[in-house]
């Protein structure tokens, strides 16, 4: 539009030249200079009008008006740096917090998934409603029947999570991987970056072994070399051919938030309708027009048919989950609550801004009255004020977006690991177009929200009244005073809700961290050392390896005891059916199950799990000794209530199996094995030296080392890894964590929500106190004369103090009452996040009330002090 940026003066020169040229022509035809000039001007028409037309055509009028507003606004803001700084900072905090939370909400809940027609993709697992089991893996029998007979799927792919040990070129490493059916990539609609995906004949067990690399693994281990495609790679000591590489944004996206991110995919899933073992997870693409519930209904009909032929599938039905629901896991309620909370913060910031602007408007009343008298229309003044507001919000918004990107990094540090799995871009924060667009919308909406009411209020100055009062500091209409009180009351109400929410989260976390987990997580190192390959096929080889490893580690200085186990006691144990000798043939569907933990003898000593009855495992519990097991109190309570569990016999696996009977030799204390917010589960411990009896069950892989309180973990980790590699340099060591880090993971989400809620509530408290303070100090300034008069007439300081503080407390009480009513209605939405505390916990509400009353007392006390220090003489002369 301003390509040439032609100046009006340039246009003026051109017009002048035109008139000169015309005059010359007319003079040639015989006119005098004066006559020629007049005629030329007549022919030109109205010169000024032409210039104006030119000017308007270029839209400079509008631009000039805006530019004028901006310059004037900047001047006004620069004149009151204190006001400007407070305003910009308030908005920066409000907009920054909102943007940061929105970027998390966007990354987890809204960002489109990069799959073709992702709305039709579903996770297929299974549930058993009569027994209350959900989200179990599915069997080939079911997969084939559902795919072929239900008519719900366009296609159904399956995969199973596994671990792949890469050997050959470079150090041995173990990576999470997936065994996938060849149609997985086709169902997802994902194309490889290089090479190809699996072909259908590669599903056969005798087909050549093929693997597809994730971008991460390809970059890390193979130096981004496309030449690796078609080459051999050794996986789990077998040779595979690399056939493709997937793009960087692919691998995590269909994984469950709790699952691991696969580093590679291997083919070779041959499904047979005979197999009822539950090894697989399904991802299906529904036929167009078929919804989730409809697909469940159709597959349920198929299941009802197949369970007649396969009794062990009795009661199981397909469970369909939308890909979005799985990817976001149970973070949705937390994010929704946080988004709500941060909106409250933003509203408080807006209320505060409106308040500041009203106060400022009152002190500028004279200015507006004069401008109005000089012909500035109401609209012009509103525009001017909105421009000023926009300038403040823009500055606050830019600062806020910067704050948001720091906030996102902080949030990513706090976030549970699974949240980062489903939203790997979380730490990137505001660096996303949609997030920035949201921030911009927030800025504009905010400007109108807080700017419009004061602008309208201020643009209608009572002309004569204001001008008459000039010199008395400008007045404030009762209407404006009422508006400001309403704003403060709403600020306090919003702050109340936030404080209650934060208080409930604090109580939740306190409860969670006070839960006795059943073991002592302090001073324990955990390392995962998976044994694989030919060398460790014989169970005895594994037991020997662990014996040697533990013996070596226990001699290290600073080590109190060491042990191994399969899985870690927080959320990492697998369940297994078992039967008791008292009831060896339970009916199908009523087979008991328990977590199954393979441990070495010192396990209970290392984790300090108390033994309630009997003995621990010892060195005599070997292949040649009697088969033994230790159960936990919960199992004993469930299956032998009131009887002595010692000497009882149990058998692992489905009823009628050929596994040996185990004699219960001890009862261990209960452990919160699924995290502190879950109950106890039945648990069976078996000694690793007698392992394994069951095909398909895996040996121990976690090394647990209890350190003395003074030992330095870093040095010890190095020594332990050295000992392991001295035994076998080809064994990978992964996931080195302290037990305290491990037990923190299940409550990481509550911890993050608490940290954020507490900071929001703190911000809300400060802002609302500022609001109370500004309203009261302003009204004191307005009433200096009145107070002086009262004091001159004999009012005591105490009564003046009560007058002012009473005003503040009245606002606070009203705000708190409204806030508590709102909180009672709203905290119900947080129920899913709470533990050990009700959504209407009276204690929390009481504390919040006290905190708010105290803060508003403090906020009113300062202006009140100023009021009682008024010197009546000065005050009366003052105006």
């Amino acid at each position: 539009m301003f390509r040439w940026r032609r100046k009006a003066s340039d246009f003026g020169a051109e017009t002048e030249a035109h008139i000169q040229l015309e005059m010359e022509r007319l003079q040639e035809s015989g006119l005098t200079a004066d006559e020629a000039r007049a005629a030329a001007r007549r022919a030109f028409g109205n010169v000024t009008q032409a210039e104006e037309r030119f000017y308007e055509a270029r839209r400079w009028l509008w631009w000039d008006g805006l530019w004028q507003d901006v310059r004037f606004g900047l001047r006004m803001l620069a004149k009151t740096p204190g006001f400007t700084a407070v305003a910009v900072l308030t908005l920066a905090l409000g907009i920054g917090a909102t943007t940061a939370i929105f970027s998390a909400v966007y990354a987890v809940l809204l960002k489109p998934l990069p799959f073709r027609d992702a709305g039709r993709l579903v996770f297929v697992e299974k549930k058993n409603p009569p027994r209350g089991w959900i989200r179990n893996p599915i069997s080939p029998t079911e997969i084939l029947a559902w795919r072929e007979q239900s008519g719900a799927f366009e296609d159904l792919a399956v995969y199973t999570q596994s671990t792949c040990v890469l050997t050959g070129a470079g150090e041995a490493e173990e990576d999470p991987c997936e065994v996938a059916s060849s149609n997985l990539f086709h169902v997802l609609g994902a194309a490889p970056l290089f090479g190809r995906t699996f072909s259908p004949d590669e599903d056969q067990p005798d087909a050549p072994h093929v693997a597809i690399l994730s971008y991460g693994l390809w970059r890390r281990r193979f130096g981004e070399n496309p030449g690796r495609i078609g080459r051999a790679i050794e996986i789990n000591h077998t040779s595979y051919t690399i056939v493709g590489v997937m793009p960087a944004n692919f691998s995590h996206l269909y994984g469950t938030p709790y699952g691991t991110i696969p580093a590679l995919w291997v083919g070779g899933i041959a499904l047979s309708a005979e197999h009822t073992w539950n090894d697989y997870f399904g991802i299906g693409r529904l036929k167009p027009g078929i919804g989730l519930r409809q697909a469940e209904a159709r597959t349920a009909q198929v299941s009802a048919r197949i369970e007649r032929e396969h009794p062990d599938l009795k009661g199981w039905r397909a469970e369909m989950l939308s890909i979005r629901a799985v990817v976001s896991g149970d973070t949705r309620p937390a994010l929704v609550v946080l988004m709500g909370a941060v909106m409250f913060v933003l509203l408080i910031a807006c209320a505060n801004m409106a308040n500041l602007l009203l106060a400022r408007g009152a002190s500028r009343a004279t200015e507006f009255a004069v401008r109005n008298a000089l012909g500035a229309g109401e609209g012009r003044i509103v525009r001017q004020l909105l421009t000023e507001s926009l300038l403040i919000t823009l500055a606050g918004g830019i600062l806020g977006v910067l704050l948001a990107s720091w906030g996102c990094q902080g949030m990513a540090a706090l976030a549970p690991r699974y949240l980062l799995n489903s939203a790997p871009g979380l730490a990137g924060g505001a660096a996303d177009f949609n997030v920035l667009a949201f921030a911009l919308c927030t800025i504009l909406a905010t400007t109108f929200l807080f700017g419009l009411a004061p602008a309208l209020q201020n643009s209608r100055p009572d002309l004569t009244g204001t001008l008459k009062e000039t010199g008395r500091g400008g007045g404030q209409s009762p209407r404006s005073r009422r508006l400001r009180s309403v704003l403060v009351v709403s600020e306090i109400a919003l702050a109340t809700v936030l404080l209650v929410g934060a208080g409930l989260m604090v109580r939740t976390l306190a409860r969670l961290s006070r839960v006795n987990l059943g073991f002592d997580p302090a001073h324990i190192l955990t390392l995962r050392v998976p044994l694989s390959g030919e060398r460790y096929k014989p169970p005895q080889a594994q037991a020997e390896f662990w014996d040697h490893a533990i013996a070596a580690i226990e001699t290290l200085p600073g080590v109190e005891s060491a042990s191994v186990s399969r899985g870690l006691p927080v959320g990492d144990w697998a369940g297994q059916f078992f039967t008791t000798a008292d009831d060896p043939n339970p009916p199908a569907g009523h087979v008991p199950d328990a977590n199954y933990i393979v441990v070495s003898p010192d396990y209970f000593r290392t984790l300090q799990i108390p033994l309630r009855r009997g003995r621990s495992f010892n060195a005599r519990d070997t292949q040649t000794g009697a088969r033994v097991a230790i159960v936990n109190e919960e199992l004993a309570r469930l299956y032998w209530p009131g009887r002595d569990p010692l000497g009882k016999q149990i058998r692992l696996g489905a009823p009628g199996g050929t596994e040996p009977w185990l004699t219960v030799v001890g009862v261990a204390g209960n452990v919160h094995s699924q995290g502190p917010d879950e109950g106890f589960h039945a648990e069976t411990y078996v000694p690793d030296a007698q392992y394994p009896w069951l095909a398909g069950l895996l040996g121990p892989e976690h090394l647990l080392v209890r350190m003395s309180a003074r030992a330095m973990p870093e040095g010890l980790i190095r020594a332990v890894v050295r000992d392991v590699h001295r035994l076998d340099a080809g064994v990978p060591v992964a996931d080195i964590l302290t037990m305290e880090q491990v037990v923190r993971e299940p409550i990481a989400q509550q911890r993050m929500v608490m940290a954020l809620m507490v900071s929001f509530a703190g911000l809300a408290l400060i802002l609302s106190a500022l609001g109370t303070y500004s309203v009261l100090s302003y009204s004191i300034a307005q009433r200096t004369r009145e107070i002086g008069m009262r004091m001159a007439l004999g009012a005591q300081r105490g009564s003046v103090l009560r007058l002012v503080v009473g005003g503040g407390v009245r606002l606070a009480v009203l705000g708190i009452a409204l806030g508590i009513a709102a909180a009672l209605a709203l905290t119900r939405l947080m129920t899913e996040l709470l533990f050990g505390v009700g959504a209407t916990d009276p204690m929390t509400f009481a504390v919040v009330t006290v905190v708010l009353v105290a803060s508003s007392l403090a906020a009113s006390y300062i202006p009140a002090r100023r009021a009682i220090n008024v010197d009546p003489i000065v005050a009366l002369r003052h105006e």
């Binding site: 030249a17 040229l21 030109f44 032409a50």
Partner: protein
């Protein structure tokens, strides 16, 4: 938007000024006053160009990239802004001319028939 007679000269139909400017510039670059004169003379003084209205029109054409302008010296050695036709302007002239001719023919046809019927 009728072409009404004011004295002896016709006021320009709206939108036709652009066409006339482009047409005038086909003979080479010219300054504003020259363009106004040329239109008046070529139309044998039938058309009235309000000189003041010429400049917003020139500005508009310049903004659209159909003509370009630079300061130069007139035949009488006076500084003036000279306008010339751009390639885009030449194309536009062809288009506008065709459009105008169709319009004129169509209106002419209607008027002729009404004259017959009347």
């Amino acid at each position: 938007m009728s072409t009404q007679e004011t004295g002896e000269r016709l006021e320009l139909l709206q939108g036709t000024l652009d066409l006339l400017i482009l047409r005038t510039l086909i003979f080479g670059s010219q300054h504003g006053q020259g363009i106004a004169r040329a239109i008046q003379q070529t139309s044998e003084e039938d058309l009235l160009v309000e000189h003041g209205a010429l400049y917003p029109a020139l500005q508009r054409l310049e903004d659209r990239g159909w003509i370009s302008a630079k300061w130069g010296t007139s035949a009488t050695n006076r500084k003036a802004r000279f306008y010339s036709l751009t390639a885009a302007g030449r194309k536009q002239l062809v288009k506008e001319t065709a459009k105008w001719e169709r319009l004129a023919t169509a209106i002419g046809r209607i008027l002729a028939r009404q004259a017959e019927e009347g």
